[in-house]
């Protein structure tokens, strides 16, 4: 009788313990997700110094002199990769037009970023192919921004304009309008850059400085010679050569609070 009671008691205790095991989803002690921001700031340099448009002469890898009058590019599909324990973040409606001539376009906040640590950033230089076939768009994608070919539907992913005495065009004008979203000559480039230390999104907003080196456009793997490459106005092999170069143009020069 005593033994049976003991078994019953132990069974009862075990049963009670089992029923007391908390369902994690009902546990009011777990944290609900909080959301913060991350600020992205874009800087356009030539070599290690800030780009000065319309006033300063530079030299490309080929030894050609040049001055810059316009430098615009699209940044899209921005994502942050979380350190283990933090999920990944993808910015919704992620389409930004960065223009050297417009300071306000050179930084933006990503919102609703879950609190946590992120080790790297991934983004596209240009506009993904789906958006190039999806009809009339607005905001950064409005064709009235001058970054769109109406006669051959598609976005100009990067626009570089300037002058070079080595260019064989009238007045040495350089017009490099780089686009093309499909096939072998697509210029759409996806870039992933790691932070030296993971950034922490929390009550404070971390900043990430993405610095582009204009010289990269003309350097490697394809050395660009302005005497034969001064005008690009359609998708094709010439645009692809420069895109293969500009895939390398960004570095992270700061990532932290």
């Amino acid at each position: 009788m005593k033994k049976q009671f003991l078994i019953l008691l132990i069974t009862g205790i075990v049963a009670m313990a089992a029923s007391c095991r908390k369902d994690p989803s009902n546990n009011t002690g777990t944290t609900t997700t909080q959301y913060g921001k991350t600020k992205l700031e874009f800087f356009n340099n030539v070599g290690s110094s800030k780009l000065n448009m319309n006033t300063q002469w530079y030299k490309n890898e080929n030894g050609d002199s040049f001055m810059v009058s316009k430098f615009n590019y699209y940044i899209s599909n921005v994502k942050l990769t979380g350190v283990s324990g933090t999920g990944n973040y993808a910015e919704p409606n992620s389409y930004h037009l960065v223009q050297e001539s417009d300071a306000s376009s050179q930084s933006f906040d990503m919102s609703n970023v879950p609190y946590g640590k992120y080790s790297s950033i991934t983004f596209t230089i240009g506009i993904d192919s789906l958006m190039n076939v999806s009809g009339a768009q607005a905001g950064a994608l409005d064709p009235l921004n001058g970054m769109f070919w109406d006669w051959n539907t598609g976005y100009i992913m990067m626009k570089f304009e300037g002058t070079s005495p080595q260019a064989k065009t009238t007045n040495g004008v350089l017009q490099l309008h780089l686009g093309g979203f499909s096939g072998a000559n697509s210029v759409v480039k996806t870039v992933t850059l790691s932070f030296d230390e993971p950034i922490q999104v929390g009550g404070n907003t971390p900043h990430v400085h993405l610095t582009a080196d204009v010289l990269a456009l003309f350097k490697s793997p394809n050395k660009i010679d302005f005497s034969n490459t001064a005008t690009i106005m359609t998708p094709g092999a010439a645009a692809k050569k420069i895109a293969d170069n500009y895939a390398n143009m960004f570095t992270i020069t700061y990532a932290g609070l």
């Binding site: 076939v133 009339a136 051959n152 598609g154």
Partner: protein
């Protein structure tokens, strides 16, 4: 919000169809019975009566052009099935001329690309071209948007269509698309014939003509849209214009002198024919195909030896092609300039 009712019906003609536009709050797009599914589906551009009416107003508004004389309707005339009757190429702003024939507008929902060289991949991206082209409307989109934002009627119509009164390029193009993508031509004698409907009884000549058509033309001018929307070189001798056609877009020499295969519906109303309007009559077109083919490295293989037609074949074929005319489409009051306030 307007209700969108998608329904399948057979494009059978109801006499009440020809009455003036109703003031009902709904509008419906229907895939004609037996037709393939359209490429454009109004995704991200919900079809509403107010969007359609705004698109119609914009389509006929000459204020889109630099000198307030050219609207879309100037070169796309309903009585010509929305082509430009009797004009090889159109005259636009300042009477400037282009190099290509204004195509008729109907059944655009089934196109996968636009323009004779297929440079535009979505109907929403088409209107910006004639609006901004210096020899067509020579318009300034920013000025157009400012005009609309200052116009009480437009402000009301933008609010009805899109919720707020401000105009922007996206809304302008989506409204125009809602108007253009309701232009379905599917009620010709041929369509009635294919459905076994009253009014579709073919004469012996039309029946012979259909057989001639299917033997000689149908490979490119595929039923029921009468185009396969491919780009082909149909043996037109290049002129001084030397229009490279599809190669202008792809930069591929294999695409030299290839142009989009047009539909053969509504030919009676939409002359002249070809990308540069060089043929004023169907008889001239058939003479080209039988004896006028210009050989080149990109000539379509199907036309290497031209098309063999007897004189009787030609007469029968022309009689058949007339059965593709859709007078009800021309008379459809919903698309008329009269209703564009």
């Amino acid at each position: 919000m307007c209700l969108i009712i998608l329904q399948l019906y057979s494009c059978k003609r109801d006499p009440s169809f020809d009455q003036p536009v109703t003031t009902a709050d709904n509008i419906s797009f229907s895939v004609p019975s037996g037709w393939p599914q359209p490429y454009y589906t109004f995704q991200n551009n919900t079809l509403t009566k107010s969007g359609f009416e705004l698109g119609r107003k914009i389509f006929y508004d000459t204020r889109l052009s630099k000198d307030n004389t050219v609207s879309c309707g100037t070169c796309h005339q309903q009585y010509a099935a929305f082509a430009n009757l009797d004009h090889e190429v159109s005259h636009g702003y300042n009477n400037l001329l282009g190099t290509r024939n204004a195509p008729p507008l109907f059944n655009l929902n089934w196109h996968t690309s636009f323009f004779w060289d297929g440079g535009v991949n979505n109907i929403e991206n088409q209107p910006i071209n004639p609006i901004q082209n210096p020899v067509e409307m020579a318009g300034d989109m920013n000025a157009i948007i400012a005009m609309m934002n200052a116009d009480a009627t437009y402000k009301n119509m933008f609010t009805a269509a899109f919720g707020t009164n401000e105009a922007n390029s996206q809304r302008i193009f989506k409204a125009l698309t809602q108007f253009m993508c309701m232009m379905i031509s599917c009620n010709s004698k041929y369509d009635k014939h294919m459905h076994g409907d009253a009014g579709g009884e073919f004469t012996d000549q039309e029946t012979r003509g259909l057989a001639v058509f299917r033997s000689n033309c149908a490979a490119c001018h595929k039923e029921p849209l009468f185009s396969d929307f491919s780009y082909r070189n149909n043996g037109l001798q290049p002129t001084v214009v030397n229009d490279s056609g599809r190669a202008h877009i792809t930069k591929d020499t294999a695409d030299l002198y290839k142009f989009l295969v047009p539909s053969l519906r509504n030919l009676t109303y939409s002359r002249p024919y070809m990308h540069d309007g060089r043929f004023g009559s169907i008889n001239d077109v058939l003479t080209h195909y039988t004896t006028g083919i210009y050989q080149s490295s990109t000539l379509d293989p199907l036309l290497k030896s031209g098309i063999k037609l007897t004189e009787q074949d030609k007469q029968d074929l022309m009689a058949f092609l007339k059965t593709l005319d859709d007078p009800a489409f021309l008379a459809d009051a919903r698309f008329s300039e009269a209703l564009a306030k």
